[in-house]
Each structure stands twice: as C-alpha cells, then as structure tokens.
C-alpha cells in the first residue's frame, strides 16, 4: 500500500510554509503556521490533526489562497501557487476545491442550491462545460446521492447532513483533483457522519480524488486517512502512514493526543486510563504563552531536556516511513520496548 502510494505523483506540495497574523495591539506576530511541510499524492487522503491553535485549518486556507503566506512555497500539480497571478489561480481553482465544517454558513441562505453550484462557471477565464451548466450541476448532485431537482430549492429546506452533501456537490462540480476537507463531519451526528464519510470514500474511488482532511477527531482521521500529519502550535510534530503513527506514535505529543481520546470500549478504556495515570505529569497543565527557540512542545513535555528548550529538532525519518521532529524519539522508543511485555 505504502509502496504504491510512494510512486504516485505528488499533487500538493507544501514546503516550509509559514503564516503569520498580526496579534492584538502590542502582542507582536502570531505564528499560526511555522515552517510546516507536507505532501498530498494523487488518490491519497492526508489527515491533518491537531488541537485548536495548531494551525491545521490555516494550512488548508493558505493552500486555497484564503490566508496570507509569510514564507515557504505551495505548489499544486507542479504549478507554483504562492506567487501565482490572480488569473492563474482562477484557472487552478477548478482542480482545487474545498468543503467547510459548517454546512449552515457555507451555503448562502438567499440563493438556490442550483445558483450556488453554478457559481464556479461564473468565474472569468473559464470555459463553460460543453454539456451545459445545468446538466453539470445535476450530475454533481447525483454523485452525492441527491435528486437533481433539489437545485431549485433553498438551503434551509435541508438538514445538516443533506447540506453537507450539497457542499460536497459544489466542490465536485468543477471536477477537481484535490479537495480540502476542513472538519467536514464535525458538526454532524454520528449516523449522518458515517453516511458522509462513506460518500467521501466512494467519491475518492470513483473519481480518483485526493483529500487533505483537516480534523480534530482522531477516530475519524484514522478511518479516512492513508497518511496523517500531527501539528502542534503551527509545526509538524510527526508525519507518516496512518497505521504506523497510530500503532507506534514516535512523538511524545502524538502519544498524549492518542491516549487522551477515549475509545468506545469500557474495559479497554479503563486500561488506557490506568496507563495514562501512571505517566501523568504536571507539565501538561501548564499554560504555555510564548514559544522559545526550541521545540514548541518542550514546555508541556514530560521528557524535555535542556536541548529541547534551546534547539528546534530536525525532522528524522524512521524505518517504518514515519517522520518525527523530536530530539529524544530514540530513547523514548527503547524505553517503550523495554517497558512493555
């Protein structure tokens, strides 16, 4: 699986991306994303995981041109996006689409579904499809399991799950190659969430799509992703094949994150909780305000030493294809193997 994936063409290449925002007056610059690199290959789903403030949504927005890029490069299908002209970006828009978290805010309540879906064809420099816009919109709605007739209705006539299907249809209407999914199921109920996740998978198989799947829900990301990227405070902590990262997390932050998510199995969860209590450390509770020169996680990390505070760790590649940014991953791994039966 991994070997096959490695041979596929890199569709999205984010290299050393930084996004800075001006903070509150006097607070200086907020580094929402700090020197982050990731790749999405053809026909692949990459999960982008992190807690609030990790910059996961910002990376997606930067790729879409909705957030200002302070440094680094984003290229899509071999084309530079960071310094692309407005005209070129518009041309690439067809290949690069988005599904937002909130299916209520992402559809204009005053416009019919059909009008919203036809929007991409109103863009300049784009040829209208030969078969006609209406036909194209109808096809997109069929692909997400809706009747083409819903084009004549308004968003408020639909439930959250149906709206999210419509939002997916809007992303599909231009036949994109990559879709940025920004928490696409977080606001949905469990049964509807499963429907939408299945739909995304079906579409990937049928249309050969790639997804950059941004989410805070580790279970959902594990279910959909081939590879995952763990972010903390705008930096990539760990990155690699989803199974490898979940089975043997190399970075202390990844471990804490995975251990914190309760699993729906009372007996197993009781065991995990006991494990977590044994390794509990008070540093986790520290409110971290400023990031120094070193590892951004150092202030909360139980294993942090002087070198962590002083130096930014480099990305190192492990045998199982996982890449990790931690000074101590080797020691931690050997302790792990010694400690476990």
């Amino acid at each position: 699986m991994t070997a096959v994936a490695a041979e596929r063409e890199v569709l999205l290449d984010v290299a050393g991306l930084s996004v800075h925002y001006r903070g509150e007056a006097g607070a200086g610059v907020v580094r929402a994303v700090d020197d982050a690199s990731l790749q999405v290959r053809e026909f692949e789903t990459v999960g982008l995981v992190g807690e609030s403030g990790s910059g996961k949504t910002t990376i997606g927005r930067a790729v879409l041109g909705l957030a200002p890029v302070a440094g680094g490069e984003i290229s899509f299908a071999g084309e530079q996006l960071t310094r692309a002209s407005a005209r070129k970006r518009r041309l690439l828009c067809a290949d690069l689409q988005v599904i937002f978290q909130d299916p209520y805010s992402s559809l204009n309540p005053a416009r019919k579904i059909g009008q919203t879906l036809a929007e991409p064809f109103r863009a300049k420099h784009r040829r209208s499809p030969a078969e006609g816009v209406e036909h194209k919109v109808g096809r997109a709605l069929e692909k997400v399991g809706l009747d083409p007739e819903v084009a004549d209705r308004y968003p408020y006539q639909f439930s959250g799950g149906q709206r999210q299907r419509i939002a997916i249809a809007r992303a599909l209407v231009t036949d994109p190659r990559l879709i940025i999914c920004d928490e696409p199921v977080s606001s949905l109920d469990l049964s509807v969430q499963a429907q939408v996740l299945n739909l995304l998978r079906t579409l990937q198989t049928e249309l050969g799509l790639s997804y950059l799947f941004v989410s805070h829900d580790l279970a959902v990301v594990r279910h959909v992703s081939h590879r995952i990227v763990i972010l903390y405070r705008g930096r990539v902590m760990e990155e690699g094949p989803a199974d490898a990262v979940y089975a043997a997390p190399a970075h202390p932050y990844t471990r804490i994150l995975l251990a914190a998510a309760p699993i729906p199995d009372p007996a197993e969860q009781r065991r995990r909780r006991a494990d977590a209590a044994a390794t509990r450390n008070e540093r986790m509770h520290k409110a971290v305000t400023a990031v120094g020169a070193g590892c951004p996680f150092a202030a909360r990390c139980a294993h942090a030493t002087a070198v962590c505070e002083a130096e930014q760790p480099d990305m190192e590649t492990l045998a199982n294809g996982v890449r990790v940014a931690c000074h101590h991953w080797r020691e931690l791994r050997s302790v792990e193997h010694g400690g476990r039966r």
Partner: protein, 668 residues
C-alpha cells in the same frame, strides 16, 4: 446505491415547508405599514402631479384681497393666507418641492453610502481604513453651515442644497452597510465563492448586496424622515423655494408671521409635515420588524430549544399533596424519572410531544450517561430534572422523584431551593454561563452567598478561591481576579464546575461538558469529574453523543431516540450486548469500529423531529429489522433481562444480537 435511494426517498417524501414570504409581502400584512405606504404614496403623487396640473397656484402672487387670513370655509377648505391665497391649494402644490427635496437626499445617500460601505466592509484592511478616515472627515463637517454656504453661492438651488445634505449623511449609511458587509465577509459561502474563482464584483452583487438590502431599506426610510425635516426647515427660512412658489416650510413661516391674527394658519402645513415624518418613521419600523420576521421564522425551532422556563405551574394536575411512602423509589435511588413526558402547545392549538415515556434511575454516586443523536430529547430530559422546560412546554405525564419528592409537583420557589444546591448544572458552553462584566471570584462568591446566606463577603470570596483550588486551577487567587474572557475554554469549564460545586450538590447534570474542548483538555475535565464523584460521592447525569466519553465515564447508559428511552443497561452490556437495533446501529456507525479502507455501516435517513414521530416504533423507518408489526402501535419499554430496559418488540430475536454473536475479541 441503496442508501442513496433511501435518502432520495426520504427527501422527496417529507413535505417541505413553503419558503418564507418575501419582505414586501410580510410588510403588507402589517396594517400600520399599509397605512403609511398609502399615505406616502398619495403625498408623493400629489407632489408630482398637482404643481403640473395647477401651474397658476405655483406662480400666484396674490389671491382674494377681500378674504385674507380667513379660517376654513366652504370656499376655502383650509382658509386663506396673508395674501388671500387658498391654503389647501398651496398645501397640495407645496408637497412637490418638499418630496423632491426628500427624494434628492435619499438618492444621494443611497448611491454614495451603499457602495462605499460594501467596499469598505468587504475589502477591509487599508481600503477600509481610508474610507473610515474619509467618513470621519465628512461627519466632522458642520452640516447646516455647509448647506447655508451652498445656498449663499447658489441661491434657492434645492438640488445642490439637499444633495449636499445627502453627501454629508452618506457616511452614516456607509458605516451601517460596512458592518453588515463585514459579517457577510466572514461567512464560509463567501470563502467558497472565492475558492471557485469568481470575481469580487460577482461576490459583492450576489452575496453581499442581498444581505445588505434589508438594513439599507430601513435606513432609507429613516433618512427620508430626517431629510423632510431639513427640507422644511430650510424652506421655512425661505432659502430653498423662491417667493411665490409654495412649500410646507414656507406655509409654516407664513403662519408664524400671522400667528397673532390667524393662529389656524400654522396647522395645515405643520400637520402635513408631522404626519409625513411619522409615516416615514412607521414605515422604517415596520420594515425592520418584517425583516426580522424573515430570519426568526427560520430560527424559531432553535429558539424553542434555547429558551427555557420553570416547569412548575404548568397546568399539570397536582399528584396529591404528599406522595404515599411506597410511591417513590427506594432509598438506594437518588433520582428516578418515571414515564415522563413533555409537550409544547402549538400556535394552532394541539400539542407536539418533545419527549415521552422517559424512564431511568440514578443511584447516589453513580454516573449515568444519556446518549443519542441531536434531536432525541437528551437535553430536554436533563433540564426538566432541574425543573426547567423549553418555552411554552409543559409536563404531560410521569414523575421525577428526587429524595422522596416529586419534582414535577413542586412550586417554583421549592424548585429554586433545590436547583444549584441539590442539583447543579454544567453546560456545554461555560463562557455563556459566566457574566463577562464581573471577575470570576466575585461571581463565584455571589453563588456561595446564595447557598449560605449568613456568610460575609470576605468569607464567601475565600470559599470561592477554595472552590477554584478544588477543581485544580493553577494559582486560584489569580484566576479569581480575572474576567471570563481571560480564560481558556478548559479553564472556563473548570470554573463552571467549581460554581456547580458551590452548593455541594448530590447530583450534577453535565450537558456535553467536553464537546467544545480539545481532546487533551477533555481528558483532564473528565478526570476532574471522576475525582469529584469519588471524593464527594456525587452522582452525575452525563449527556453525551460520544461513545468514547460514555465508555470512559459512565456506570450505566440510557440510550434515547426520537424523544424516547429505547435502551437502559450497564455500560459493559451496552457495548458488548446491545439489545435495541438503534443502539447497535449507532455503535457500528462509530468510526472507531471500522478499520480504514472499509465502509462504515450507516443508518439511512435522519432522526424524525417531534411532531413527525410515527405511530408505532419511532425507529421503524430506519431499522433494518423492522416488520409490519413494528408500525402498528407504540412499543412499551420492557425488561428483557434483570437491570436492563429495551423498547423493541423483537428484543428476543437472536438475529438482532449481532455484536454478541460476532463477539469482538471476547471482552467478558
């Protein structure tokens, strides 16, 4: 694609509400709006037509020299002025320049203010700053003096004078439009439009303009009223309309100069001015109300869930003064909800049930999870235990036994003593329950003092700091001095737990307490709740939609679906041997169980809303095991095994017990 077909079927079968009527139609339902529109229409029509029909009135220098300053008569309906001219004719002709002045101002304000405001709000940044700076400059100019200067240079030029007023007023409209445009800019559909590559003019006209229109229309009615005042004022001074031509301001001036001889004369034009201004004001009000209705019609269901009121005095007959000893549950039960139902009265009469047949128990020190999807009645049930019901709702059946008392039969005063002191609430949004204007310590001390009335201010503050310490907030003294906005989400939830502990309650209702939090913070809050339960022996009713949280925290699980309890079992039993098909299906839909590359088992369709519940089993439509018998009549909650409840007529069919037969890895 069976799932797709099922979805299409539900979509096409369910009757959709008709779209909300357009703004003008909602407006025409208001009698006061119709009256003012008709009035303004008539005044405008007269102003346009009459001066053209009777040019002699406009140019008339002197009238009937023998009948000057006469009162109303059959010859002169509204009397005559100082030069013997007919006041009625002059009033009608005067509407012309008056309404023209109003029209000029409205047009200038609209054409300048709206595009400038939209551009400022949409582009923001430097463009916005420059426009703001320009607006400030214009607004700081003295309006009346500018108009007088214009009139001094171009005497009696109404176009320039009222146009100048429009320019000076436009920044006010621009600011209102800007704030609306700013909020539209935040909408994700604008981001989606940008991603799809459309031009900014398209976004401005298709997405921003429609949202701005409502407030602009209201503002224009207000501007018209103000412009009328300004026009009349300048005409009163004789600056706008040259001598023989009539105007309302001129008529009033004439009346004032003759007030000693004929006090009647100021009334006709005065009243016309007042009534027209009033009509503009009423129209503005109605427009604003009609605009708000458009949004609130769609939001009414949400409002229903959000606003709550006390449950007592709800018209439910009292169950008898003191319940007999054997009516309540035994002493090993803290809270017992029995056959509980809540309904709202529809505006059209009749009732819609929100929950029915709810039954569960909470033992002292036990953590019971209330689980289900949104719209299943979890929150309605939990807040009803606090004696709080949605607006317009009442208890239709059942009892809520708490410590030997039936909470549904208590008065509001009695409930208030229980709320906070014996039963406390922690909500999903801790920030909402904290007042942003007061320091944390002060707010907590208030709660402490309410529960212990004898306590001094200083003692209460000390107790507040102790409470903050007990929820493991680092440096509690310092946290007590902070305002709510200075807290992170996790800290705010700790503060709200500290407040819930202030009355030392026996039961804590936690409504999705960690849904809004990050996963590591969630783990800390759950640890805290577990610790509190352990140390204080406090029972917790935990509302959640997350199977992981349920497995982590609870001793028992109560599964709700479409307003009913469908299953009640110990936590191990729910996960290993679920009995109800809904429980099974919801567990399987959880991505944790499905490995990557696999499709998740789904439940077709959506939860039916209250009012759309089927006669028989509520889950029948979505259930893979449903038979004809399922839809025939309501399904009772039965006891299939000791300590378990299930609402399914096929509960003994072994085929349903999929998880048990498959047996995942043998957890016993």
């Amino acid at each position: 694609m069976t799932e797709t077909q099922a979805l299409m079927a539900t979509l096409n079968a369910s009757p959709r509400r008709a779209p909300a009527p357009r703004l003008w139609r909602r407006l025409l339902r208001k009698p006061e709006a119709v009256v003012s529109i008709v009035f303004l229409g008539v005044v405008t029509a007269i102003g346009v037509i009459y001066p053209r029909l009777r040019p002699d009135v406009v140019t008339q220098f002197a009238g009937d020299a023998t009948g000057m300053l006469s009162g109303p008569s059959s010859a002169h309906w509204l009397g005559t002025d100082g030069l013997g001219r007919d006041v009625f004719e002059r009033l009608l002709a005067g509407a012309g320049p008056t309404m023209e002045g109003v029209g000029i101002t409205v047009l200038v304000v609209l054409l300048l203010g709206m595009p400038i405001g939209m551009i400022a709000g949409f582009f923001g940044g430097r463009v916005d700053a420059m426009i703001n700076w320009g607006s400030d400059l214009v607004l700081s100019l003295p309006g009346l003096i500018i108009q007088l200067v214009v009139l001094a240079v171009y005497p009696a030029n109404q176009w320039l004078a009222m146009g100048a007023f429009g320019i000076l007023y436009a920044p006010r409209l621009a600011r209102i439009v800007r704030s609306v445009a700013l909020s539209v800019r935040e909408e994700l559909y604008v981001d989606a439009a940008i991603v799809s590559g459309v031009s900014w003019t398209f976004i401005l006209t298709r997405h921003v303009l429609p949202r701005v229109t409502g407030s602009v229309v209201v503002q224009m009615a207000i501007v018209a009223g103000i412009a009328l005042q300004v026009q009349t004022g300048l005409a009163f001074l004789g600056l706008l309309v040259p001598a023989p031509a009539p105007s309302w301001g001129g008529l009033i001036a004439d009346g004032i100069s003759n007030i000693a001889l004929q006090p009647w004369l100021i009334w006709p034009a005065g009243l016309a001015t007042v009534l027209t201004t009033l009509a503009f004001g009423v129209l503005a009000d109605s427009l604003r109300d009609a605009g708000a209705e458009g949004w609130s019609r769609q939001g009414s269901r949400l409002l229903l869930a959000a606003r709550r009121r006390p449950a007592s005095g709800s018209g439910k007959p009292a169950v008898g003064a003191a319940p007999p000893e054997d009516a309540g549950p035994g002493s090993d039960v803290l809270l017992a909800v029995e056959d509980f139902g809540v309904a709202v009265t529809k505006p059209s009469g009749g009732e819609t049930l929100l929950v029915e047949g709810v039954r569960f128990e909470v033992a002292p020190g036990e953590i019971v999870g209330l689980v289900g999807e949104s719209g299943c009645g979890k929150t309605t049930t939990a807040t009803a235990v606090m004696g709080l019901l949605p607006d317009g709702a009442h208890v239709t059946s059942g009892h809520i036994w708490y410590g030997g008392r039936d909470l549904t039969a208590l008065s509001e005063a009695e409930l208030r003593r229980i709320r906070g002191k014996e039963i406390a609430l922690v909500s999903q949004e801790p920030m909402v329950s904290l007042n942003p204007a007061f320091r944390i310590g002060w707010q907590l001390a208030e709660v402490v003092r309410r529960h212990q009335s004898g306590l001094s201010r200083a003692d209460a503050e000390r107790r507040a700091v102790d409470l903050l310490r007990s929820v493991h907030l680092p440096d509690p003294e310092q946290v007590a001095r902070r305002y709510p906005h200075e807290l992170s989400g996790g800290m705010a939830q700790r503060v709200s737990i500290a407040r819930a502990l202030a009355g030392d309650p026996d039961l804590l209702i936690a409504d999705e307490p960690t849904t809004a939090l990050d996963v590591t913070v969630q783990a800390e809050i759950l640890d805290l709740l577990r610790e509190i339960r352990h140390e204080r022996g406090m029972a917790i009713l935990l509302i959640t939609h997350d199977w992981g949280v349920l497995a982590d925290m609870c001793d028992r699980a109560v599964v709700m679906y479409a307003g009913q309890v469908v299953e009640d079992a110990s936590i191990e039993a729910v996960f290993t041997r679920p009995l109800h098909p809904y429980t099974t299906a919801l567990l399987e839909a959880n991505p944790q169980h499905g490995a990557a590359e696999e499709m998740l088992p789904t439940i077709p369709g959506v939860v039916p809303s209250p009012g759309d519940w089927p006669v028989g089993c509520h889950f029948e439509e979505r259930c893979g095991h449903a038979t004809a018998a399922c839809g025939e009549h309501g399904v009772p909650l039965e006891i299939p095994a000791p300590g378990r409840l299930c609402r399914c007529i096929h509960v003994d069919r072994p085929a349903l017990l999929t998880l048990e037969t498959v047996d995942h890895g043998g957890e016993r």
